[in-house]
């Protein structure tokens, strides 16, 4: 009896177990209930049985065991295991994967999981940069990546930025990182050939909306696969691909206005105050320097004023022989011309983007088209750009993938001179040269005023119609790749990339313009083509052994060729002012040449991990470059790295508070090539035509064994996550020794040259980087996250040729505007000059610290000082590098509303004010306008504790010396971006068949707290500010639709 019951029961059981049933259901996202197409569903423990959801998120299993367990997975979402338990309908809601350790990031020659990558790399996603109104993506990266400093060289539309990753590693070669787009290195930097007139940033040909993510590789382990060009870091840009599912159409439009600069920038005093200071300048000289009576002094001062300004319709009187009774009279009395409104305007930035993307199992496409127009604050500064992109990946058969990424961008820029050119820089003119007393018309005849003003400025109202410039860039990049899955785990990938940038510059001066006047008008056309061909093939092998051992091996080779072609045609003595072409010129001039370089490389990498707990990797690359002579051509670059997933250890399992903990370290070698293509050749060049016959001569002394600059970087970091990844962070220490640095070693001028290039210097950069981010509030409706980056970089010159100091100048604007010194043991950006001791209260004179053994004529704070700067010795006066820099990013999301704030800050360090000597000149220039700061702070008998000296027209050169008087604290905190966005609820948008709609407002540079308020503290990479256009406050409104 019992046996029968057991048998029947077992039959029943078997029946139950063997019972096949149909199971269906729908997979949706827990965030907004939208269906997840192409989600993967496996049956646990059963091979070969699986399903994917369709476009509606629906799936069906026909023959499933009642006790089966289904595993639901989809990229970006947390997997779920759900037992069937006999249910016929199982709907699953998947939550987004907060555990971003599993996130895949793009790295050198491949991808890696964030949680296992042994190098130091930071990732910035598209979301973080998409709302910032910027032509080129690098301006949106401020404060988002530890260890990276981004400075813009000018506020002009389309200008280039400088990026420094982990300090400054080179004195003579470039400090810019390598840019890699979709796996191949690309041309970067300024492509315009018009010198100080404009810089045209070729990276602005990549539409920021096309960028999916940016990875910045910072240490040797991450970047040494790029070997000889990676010492300054690598910025890897990955463009967007389609997402599995329905075709997605995205449209964005935004308009931004910039009515004013972000901070004060040498604001000028009022016209009456200018005249007062002008009178005072000469009056003071006569009274205090020449001992004249006030009657004589006043007469002389009035004579100066009358000499210069009577011709503009003004007269001057001072009945009581002091500035108090100074009155401006004349035909134009009381009226002054507003040059600021003539030269500046509210800038308008517009951008329109349309993209269509989608993907199926076999193919993946992303296409976009965009138009951007940026009309800058200066009335003649304009930039516009059209870009189009097609990214397509297509599977062909089971084993082969074809990928093609094509980007075409056409941009045009009109710019103006950003250097200290009195005739051409409108910003300089508005703050320093154009008196309110100057008018664009002659007050007697009413005709345009064409003569040069006494301050050396020109009448822009008239001359702006007499010249034009433009810089047009067309960039075509085509990137073709074939990936062949030879065997499971063995992939062969070959990429061929063609990157061609053609820039056409045009500059025209009419015969009426002061530059074209002597030659009857001039026009120049310059055409430059930069072509880069890269062919890169790699073989990648990955295998798991015995479930515990994972091995990956990469081997490959790469060839790259760069060519630069340049032609210029110029003409002078033009036939008519209506035609601005070289063909009409009476006298023609032309030049053309080409230059190039090429590189061959072998690369390899090996990785091993044990049980996903211990990771080791090593890489080796051998580069040969045409930039070096045969004796030193080939170089070897390698790295070793390891990491340890501490949280996976047994002893960590009980510490729940720590959800992830990883220690990683690396050491490696990479390099920097010389900037010049022929640095190792001693050459004769032929630029010295004589009487229309060729002429040339020896042009340099070179070192035939000129070699790489080598950088040895070690890096150690701790990555942690607390409270279920609610708080994550990285603390990292790096040390980068750069050796064999190229230096222009000074040599005796008697050799015919004053320097030659040699590899002799050494620099050390080390520092700590901290990245912290956390979700302060995380509920269904409300999310508040906060992230902080903080970095320190100590950048020191460790070795110089024969220990000799090198004095060098800020190259910006060809103006030698700040003086630096490379000295062993000192900072790489050590400002050098006289040490100013301030202004003597009793007399208003400049006082200087002696810093030598000469007899002191006075003392300040107990230190010997002098009134004559000629007697003082120059010393190191400050360090440009900050003590701490970084950003603070916070984001608040509530239902559909989001608010994000992005601050960047800098603490410590100094900036050098190269324009101070112009707007605060102590009376040196006899016809320039001064800043409000000069007016307020100049020494007068009524204001004896003033910070600036008395103004005297005795041509004292004190203000023109490079000194600590012009050095100011660089600390600042800036609200770089504030974005308020509102995603319109789905129930409304679905009614009009729009799958999502968003409106947003973005404000850039809206608020700044700075230690020194006279000018914008966000200066260039050398810490100096001169007469380049400053940044402005931008208010942008935008909408974004997805169909």
């Amino acid at each position: 009896m019992k046996k029968t019951i057991l048998f029947v029961l077992s039959l029943l059981l078997v029946n139950m177990v063997m019972a096949q049933m149909k199971v269906t259901g729908r997979v949706t996202s827990s965030e907004d209930g939208s269906p997840i197409p192409y989600a993967n569903i496996q049956v646990k423990g059963v091979r070969g049985v699986g399903a994917t959801t369709d476009l509606e998120g629906r799936y069906a299993f026909d023959n499933l065991s009642k006790d089966a367990v289904l595993i639901f997975t989809y990229i970006g979402f947390t997997s779920q295991e759900i037992p069937v338990n006999g249910r016929a309908v199982i709907d699953v809601s998947l939550a987004t994967d907060a555990l971003n350790l599993e996130e895949v990031m793009v790295v050198a020659y491949g991808t890696a999981k964030k949680g296992t990558f042994t190098g130091a790399a930071s990732v910035v996603k598209n979301d973080a940069i998409k709302d910032v109104p910027t032509l080129s993506f690098e301006n949106a990266l401020n404060g988002k990546v530890a260890g990276v400093q981004i400075s813009s060289n000018s506020g002009q539309a389309g200008s280039t930025s400088s990026i420094r990753v982990r300090g400054i590693g080179s004195m003579n070669a470039s400090n810019e990182p390598l840019y890699v787009v979709d796996g191949v290195p690309v041309v970067s930097g300024n492509v315009s050939n018009m010198g100080n007139y404009t810089s045209s940033n070729v990276m602005s040909t990549i539409n920021p909306s096309d960028i999916e993510s940016i990875t910045i590789l910072k240490d040797a382990a991450a970047s040494s696969l790029y070997g000889s060009r990676a010492a300054n870091g690598v910025i890897m840009i990955t463009t967007k691909r389609g997402k599995l599912g329905r075709t997605n159409i995205n449209f964005k439009a935004s308009v931004g206005i910039t009515p004013s600069f972000a901070t004060d920038n040498y604001e000028a005093a009022s016209t009456e105050q200018q005249v007062e200071m002008y009178y005072e300048n000469f009056w003071n000289a006569d009274i205090y320097a020449y001992g004249k009576t006030s009657a004589v002094a006043s007469t002389n001062a009035l004579k100066q004023l009358n000499n210069r300004f009577n011709k503009h319709g003004y007269t001057f009187t001072a009945p009581d022989n002091t500035v108090k009774s100074l009155t401006i009279g004349g035909d134009r009395a009381g009226k002054y011309f507003d040059w600021e409104s003539e030269l500046m305007r509210t800038a308008v930035y517009q951008s329109y983007d349309l993209s269509v993307s989608g993907a199926t199992e076999a193919s993946n496409y992303y296409t976009s088209l965009s138009y951007t127009k940026d009309m800058g604050r200066s009335v003649i500064n304009d930039f516009d750009r059209i870009t189009g992109r097609v990214n397509l990946t297509q599977k062909a058969g089971k084993y082969v993938d074809f990928t093609t990424n094509i980007n075409v961008a056409k941009s045009g820029k009109t710019g103006f001179n950003d250097s200290r050119a009195t005739g051409n820089n409108y910003f300089l003119q508005s703050r320093n040269l154009l008196w309110g007393l100057y008018w664009p018309t002659d007050y007697v005849t009413g005709l345009p005023w064409t003569a040069r003003y006494g301050s050396y400025a020109y009448n822009a109202v008239y001359y702006n119609n007499e010249w034009e410039n433009s810089s047009k860039t067309l960039r075509i990049s085509a990137n073709e790749a074939i990936t062949v899955n030879l065997l499971p785990g063995l992939t062969f990938k070959t990429i061929f990339s063609y990157d061609n940038t053609q820039t056409n510059d045009h500059i025209y001066y009419s015969a009426n313009h002061f530059t074209g006047a002597g030659v009857g008008g001039s026009v120049s056309e310059m055409s430059a083509t930069n072509t880069k061909l890269v062919s890169s093939s790699t073989l990648n092998f990955n295998k798991e052994f015995a479930k515990k051992h994972n091995i990956g091996v990469l081997a490959g080779w790469e060839a790259e060729s760069n060519r630069f072609d340049y032609q210029r045609a110029s003409g002078t003595n033009l036939a008519t002012s209506v035609l601005h072409t070289v063909a009409t010129a009476g006298k023609l001039d032309a030049t053309a040449y080409y230059a190039g370089n090429s590189m061959l490389s072998l690369l390899s990498r090996a990785e091993y991990n044990y049980d996903n707990r211990y990771y080791f990797s090593g890489s080796y690359r051998r580069d040969g470059s045409s930039k070096l002579g045969p004796a030193a051509r080939w170089g070897n670059f390698w790295s070793v790295a390891g990491s340890w997933r501490i949280d996976k250890e047994m002893f960590m399992t009980n510490l729940d508070i720590i959800s992830s903990l990883r220690l990683r370290g690396s050491y490696g070698v990479n390099g920097t090539l010389p900037s010049s293509n022929d640095g190792w050749r001693t050459l004769s060049t032929y630029p010295n035509k004589y009487m229309e016959m060729p002429g040339g001569g020896v042009s340099n002394i070179a070192d035939p064994i000129l070699s790489w600059e080598t950088s040895y970087t070690s890096n150690i970091a701790l990555e942690f996550g607390l409270l279920d990844q609610r708080i994550t962070g990285t603390v990292e220490y790096f040390n980068r020794d750069s050796k064999d640095l190229l230096q222009d070693v000074p040599i005796s001028g008697v050799t015919g040259f004053y320097s030659t290039l040699k590899n002799v210097g050494e620099i050390n950069n080390n520092g700590i980087e901290i990245e912290l981010s956390g979700d302060i509030i995380k509920t269904k409706d409300l999310n508040w996250s906060l992230g902080i980056t903080a970095s320190t970089v100590k950048s020191t010159v460790t070795k110089l040729y024969s220990g000799q100091d090198i004095i060098w100048y800020d190259p910006t604007g060809d103006d030698a505007r700040a003086k630096f010194i490379y000295r062993e043991g000192q900072s790489t950006l050590a400002l050098y000059g006289l040490e100013w001791a301030g202004v003597e209260d009793e007399t208003g004179k400049n006082v200087w610290f002696l810093n030598n053994d000469k007899t002191a004529t006075t003392t300040v704070d107990g230190r010997p000082a002098t009134y004559r700067y000629q007697d003082a010795t120059e010393v190191i006066i400050g360090n440009v590098h900050p003590k701490l820099f970084g950003g603070i990013n916070t984001e608040l999301n509530w239902k559909g509303l989001s608010l994000s704030l992005n601050f960047n800050y800098k603490l410590g360090g100094y900036t050098y004010d190269a324009a101070g000597r112009d707007v605060s000149d102590d009376g040196y220039y006899w016809e320039r306008i001064m800043s409000q700061n000069q007016f307020d702070n100049r020494w007068t008998p009524e204001n004896k504790t003033a910070s600036l000296p008395q103004r005297l027209a005795t041509d004292m050169e004190d203000v023109n010396q490079k000194s600590s008087r012009h050095m100011h604290k660089a600390d600042y905190l800036r609200l770089k971006n504030v974005t308020i966005g509102y995603t319109i609820p789905k129930n409304i948008t679905n009614k009009v068949k729009i799958s999502s709609a968003r409106v947003y407002f973005n404000g850039t540079n809206l608020w700044t707290l700075a230690a020194y308020k006279v000018y914008d503290p966000e200066v260039n990479a050398f810490g100096s500010r001169g007469w380049e256009m400053p940044l402005g406050k931008t208010y942008t409104f935008g909408v974004e639709f997805n169909f």
Binding site: Q304, M691, V750, Y754, Q870
Partner: protein
């Protein structure tokens, strides 16, 4: 699979075989310096380059000419702050206004000359020399001599003041980058100058006015430099002989009075012994040219009135209101009746010698100067030949028709020196003459309005003033410690 393997093998073969060729990328607009002068045509290109470099703004293109006049008291400034003032006020230091451009440009040019001479000697040693090649060598030697003459007067004390004092480093072949040369004595430099000139003399062309020598150096230019150098050394008979070689050759003719003004609008006119060509798109300095610097402020767009004639010069010219040299003077900014603005370098009609005001040739050596050198040498030699002195002087003095000609009894050194001032105004000579003659130089400082006190020198100086010569530039002393202890006294 197999197809891919084959492809890989083919690729790697292609790669390895084209390896080194792929990595040898030569520049398209320069050649290796070592092999750049192999034929006479190459030498011609090099000498053309050297001439062009001599017309640089740091040398005869502008600054050297300005130097010789700004410091000579025949120039004055009307107002401070217009640039190159430091020359007038002697505001020199090793670090500021050291005019290091003279040092670097001149030695750069000397390198080109040395390189050319060395390469020509190599070709000649190989037995492939020719007369043309020798001629280029002669030109390079003469140019080098002239440049050392200018260098030693800028940086060293006058020969007749202290010839054993420090001159300038003497280099006769291209140096290695590690070289640390020290200053040779003034005497050693002058000895080398005379040697170079003597070596070059026989191999130079005696042609005048041909395409081959216009803008270049010929035999007579060599003789002219010899005249200048010997005069500076006080070797009057030699100076006289050299000057007379040119005068008696009759290859050059003095301008007639009615042609004198026009000569400044003419290229390679009858008096030009050595003229450096300045063409548009070549050494043209546009509004920074010598011509523009001397135009009255505001005369044409870009003219800023940097220097004008001093009262001393005006008064000298006023000795004869019909002096032809008034024809090249224009009124200056101080008054419409004061003719202190000089138009030599723009032409009287502002059309230069090619139709434009700035690309105007520099007349480095003219026949008029040779006459005046001959006059002074004849007068100053140990047995003065006053007949010759007054004859030569009168040839120039007649350009002031109202003045009585000098005679062998009335001729004085002052007459000759004054005539030189009148004739060679703004041609870079006055200062060097006054220093050579150990005269006191008094500046027209009261001309500056409104008045300023000049702190860098006294109103009168002479050649004992330490700033009468330039300091060795700081850059040179930093790079060349051997010379650092040889700075000129006072700096």
């Amino acid at each position: 699979m197999k197809k891919i393997n084959i492809l890989l093998i083919v690729l790697s073969i292609v790669l390895l075989s084209s390896c080194e060729g792929f990595l040898d990328v030569k520049p398209s607009n320069s050649t290796d310096a070592e092999t750049s002068i192999l034929t006479a045509a190459d030498a011609k290109v090099a000498i053309g380059g050297l001439m062009r470099k001599m017309a640089s703004s740091d040398y005869y293109g502008r600054n050297f000419i300005m130097y010789g006049d700004a410091k000579g008291s025949d120039f004055a400034i009307a107002s401070q702050g217009r640039g190159l003032d430091a020359l007038y006020v002697f505001n020199h230091s090793a670090t500021s206004n050291s005019y290091s451009g003279f040092w670097s440009q001149l030695y750069h040019n000397i390198l080109q000359a040395n390189n050319l001479i060395m390469n020509i000697e190599k070709i000649e040693a190989d037995g492939k020399g020719s007369a043309t090649l020798s001629e280029y060598k002669g030109q390079a030697l003469t140019a080098r001599a002239l440049m050392y003459f200018d260098l030693v007067r800028l940086y060293g004390k006058p020969y007749n003041m202290d010839k054993s004092s420090l001159g300038v480093p003497l280099v006769l072949e291209p140096l290695e980058e590690t070289a640390q040369p020290t200053r040779a004595s003034v005497e050693a430099v002058y000895t080398q100058i005379l040697k170079d000139l003597a070596d070059a003399e026989p191999i130079l062309s005696k042609a005048v006015g041909t395409v081959a020598v216009k803008g270049f150096i010929n035999y007579y230019a060599n003789k002219a430099v010899q005249a200048r150098v010997n005069l500076a050394m006080g070797k009057y008979p030699e100076a006289l002989a050299a000057a007379e070689t040119i005068i008696t050759s009759n290859k050059y003719t003095l301008y007639a009075n009615d042609k004198w003004v026009k000569s400044w609008s003419t290229q390679f006119d009858t008096e030009s012994i050595f003229e450096l060509a300045v063409y548009q798109n070549e050494a043209d300095l546009l509004t920074g040219s010598l011509g523009y610097y001397l135009l009255r402020k505001g005369k044409i767009s870009g003219a800023m009135g940097w220097f004008m004639a001093s009262d001393f010069y005006i008064n000298r010219l006023k000795e004869d209101p019909t002096d032809v040299r008034w024809g090249i003077m224009d009124y200056d900014e101080t008054s419409s009746t004061r003719f202190g603005s000089c138009l030599k370098y723009t032409g009287a009609d502002l059309k230069g010698d090619k139709g434009f005001p700035s690309p105007v040739n520099i007349k480095v050596i003219r026949l008029s100067e040779m006459y005046l050198i001959a006059a002074e040498a004849a007068f100053s030699q140990s047995t003065p030949d006053k007949v010759k002195a007054s004859t030569y002087l009168n040839a120039i003095r007649k350009r002031a028709p109202a003045l009585a000609a000098s005679t062998s009894t009335t001729v004085t050194l002052d007459m000759i020196i004054d005539e030189k001032s009148k004739e060679l105004f703004a041609e870079g000579q006055r200062y060097f003459d006054l220093i050579r003659l150990n005269r006191t130089i008094t500046f027209n400082d009261d001309f500056i309005k409104p008045a300023v006190i000049i702190t860098h020198r006294t109103v009168s100086i002479d050649r004992t003033f330490y700033k009468a010569i330039l300091p060795i530039p700081k850059g040179e002393m930093d790079a060349n410690p051997a010379i650092a202890s040889q700075q000129n006294p006072g700096y």
